[in-house]
Symmetry: C2
Subunit: 398 residues, 2 copies
């Protein structure tokens, strides 16, 4: 301990350990993938000397139609990598537009993540790698050197569901130092999602930070609860432990969640500095969360001035036992008569819920209930929901 000899030995050992760790992580792969080039084309690389075929699949490629016994669906296409020196395969895209993309590799038919890219997103039970092409819309999804809000995972008591439950809350930059009260957006996930969905897949914190810094969005609190009433928290984060998440969780669309939503509002308003009135409450959600938003905003009269239905899974529940779904038309008319600032509907042209939304809009038209409508390209995908959030948030609380 007296001279720098030991220091040198230890540093060498640490570096050796580091190198071993790196090598073991990548199975010896010291390659760069994905490499984003100056023209926004991207090179994917994968090292495997013995494979017959290596493909990359991801949402930067044109979709292909997949037929299942339950119908036809759009799925990401794939592209073949070319084998080069030292067993390194590669594929270079053309210039890509600004977006957050997902991808994975398929090696001799076996799907695998990119061992050179430790950044992944979980969607239901699927893990895919991600990368961002900036210079446009997806600059909103990047962490910029600007003031940042705070993201909190917190447990609240739901008396209605008789459970402690976990939610994710975004508070805007300056919240902690201010004495101001803030408006609240309740932002709901879709089937297969949970309280991690909007913050991870939706890049909510980045979108809010960036648009608040640009002066386009009013500083607000965003509450992202878990809409699966049988869960206390996201898979792996709750008392159920680790299990393979399912797309359809029981009891998510039976009215229980909607009927007990006031537990979440009461918790938020009791624990955060919020403006606790209709003019300062918004509710929005994607797919099943759009369905929830529709019913919650209708069921609790005069509670929300802003409602956002993102690719909403709209379906008539006249027959359902849940009290929430009774008197749909009557309560919707009451919502209309009570007044609101914004009823926002967004859907992609190829979404399998397009027709249901079209019919719902006809219903609203028929009763003279005003709404703002955005029709985008594409289908039932996160790309659209991030865009919808970036279109919906600027209109709120102004």
């Amino acid at each position: 301990m007296k001279n720098n000899k030991l220091l040198l030995i230890l540093f060498t050992t640490l570096i050796g350990f580091g190198s071993y760790a790196q090598q073991s992580l990548f199975g010896g792969q010291q390659i760069v993938s994905p490499e984003i080039l100056p023209d926004n084309s991207v090179t994917f690389r994968f090292m495997t000397p013995n494979a017959d075929t290596v493909k990359v699949t991801g949402d930067f490629l044109p979709t292909v139609k997949i037929k299942t016994e339950r119908g036809e669906f759009d799925a990401p296409g794939s592209a073949l990598l070319t084998k080069g020196e030292n067993g390194v395969w590669s594929y270079k895209t053309g210039p890509l537009s600004s977006e957050l993309y997902n991808y994975s590799f398929i090696v001799d038919g076996l799907r695998t993540i990119d061992p050179s890219n430790p950044f992944i997103i979980r969607d239901v039970a699927s893990l895919t790698n991600l990368f961002i092409i900036g210079g446009g819309q997806a600059d909103l999804y990047k962490v910029m050197d600007i003031p940042h809000g705070t993201v909190t995972r917190r447990w609240y008591d739901s008396p209605g569901l008789k459970m402690d439950r976990r939610l994710t809350i975004y508070t805007p930059p300056g919240y902690e130092k201010s004495t101001e009260k803030y408006p609240v957006l309740y932002l709901l996930h879709g089937a297969g999602g949970d309280e991690e969905a909007w913050i991870a897949l939706g890049r909510t914190a980045q979108i809010m930070d960036n648009m608040i810094a640009q002066g386009k969005v009013k500083p607000m609190i965003v509450v992202m609860p878990n809409g699966n009433v049988i869960q206390d928290a996201a898979p792996g984060e709750g008392s159920e432990g680790f299990y393979k998440p399912q797309f359809m969780v029981p009891k998510t669309m039976d009215g229980t969640y909607e009927a007990n939503f006031m537990d979440i509002i009461k918790f938020t308003e009791a624990n955060y500095r919020v403006k606790a009135d209709k003019a300062n409450r918004a509710i929005a959600g994607l797919s099943m969360g759009g369905f929830h938003s529709l019913h919650i905003s209708r069921y609790f009269p005069n509670t929300f001035d802003y409602v956002g239905l993102f690719s909403a899974a709209i379906m008539s529940r006249d027959d359902a036992t849940g009290k929430v779904y009774s008197d749909f038309d009557g309560t919707l008319k009451k919502q209309k008569d009570n007044g609101y600032k914004l009823y926002w509907i967004g859907i992609g042209k190829t979404d399998f819920l397009y027709k249901a939304n079209e019919e719902y809009r006809a219903k609203l038209d028929g009763m003279g209930m005003k709404y703002q409508y955005v029709e985008s390209e594409g289908g039932h995908i996160w790309r659209n929901w991030r865009v919808y959030l970036s279109q919906f948030a600027p209109v709120l609380f102004k």
Copy 2:
């Protein structure tokens, strides 16, 4: 929208979409892996009809020696899976002791994660799957149905480093509703880590929740900062965007972090209800974080009553330019003379830093500086650091 026909169509479509999503996720694999059996043996399964060999590697298997040009290291062993029907390979362990384990598969030499298990941990740039065997120590790592603390990712201003930086803070159950002031543990990560390391790999929130509920640990705040002064946040969470993390980050052990640590303490004490005195401050860290804890606790006199060195990367820095490392012996003697409640050293018998810690203990013995010493099995691994936290936390602030 008038009857339940549309409802049925939509549900079917949703379920079809879900099935497609599931199938695409798992490449058609609808198998259970890992399956934890009643006797705590575990079956791993992997579906691939065409592979020649499928192995599982993980820390539940005996380690093997790996030779590199820089020395010999312990690495997890591997076991061969046996091919069964329908291309499903499997391997069953014997009964495993209670632990949080990591694993991945090696298919014809290619390392891949388990497509049936969406739960992974990132360590530096490596992703591995995890599972927990309960019934012992690892029950502390599970989310139990008990009161939970809050986990917050928050940005603070570091005037010393001239940056907004991100940290992770755990506040104990009841913090928000109480008017009480709490003691603080500053918990530091190792080389290659960041502000996500202790909360993800270290299961800090679960350990604290469980041990507080058991009455074994005093409710306290745990601050987990980022020790890499060139980063504003963890890889992928900061303004550098997505890049492959390195084990050794520049400037992590040059004194800059230690010299500016007061920024973190000041932020914590200005923003949380804490008892802001020596008797209510603890600092501990693993590996490089142990090195940081050693120097921070010595450099800022009379600041911490509790110091924990977990497998600390102890090395003499008499020659280093950083002011922090000057007068090591003098400041250590001052730390001793000022008094403290606990100086805790833990290390594994096969840790490559064992000898350095032995020499450091001899130095402390020589100067009559008291410490508590725990020698565990194993090496420089997270398994030990979780155990050390569960041994160190109960002694604090009592």
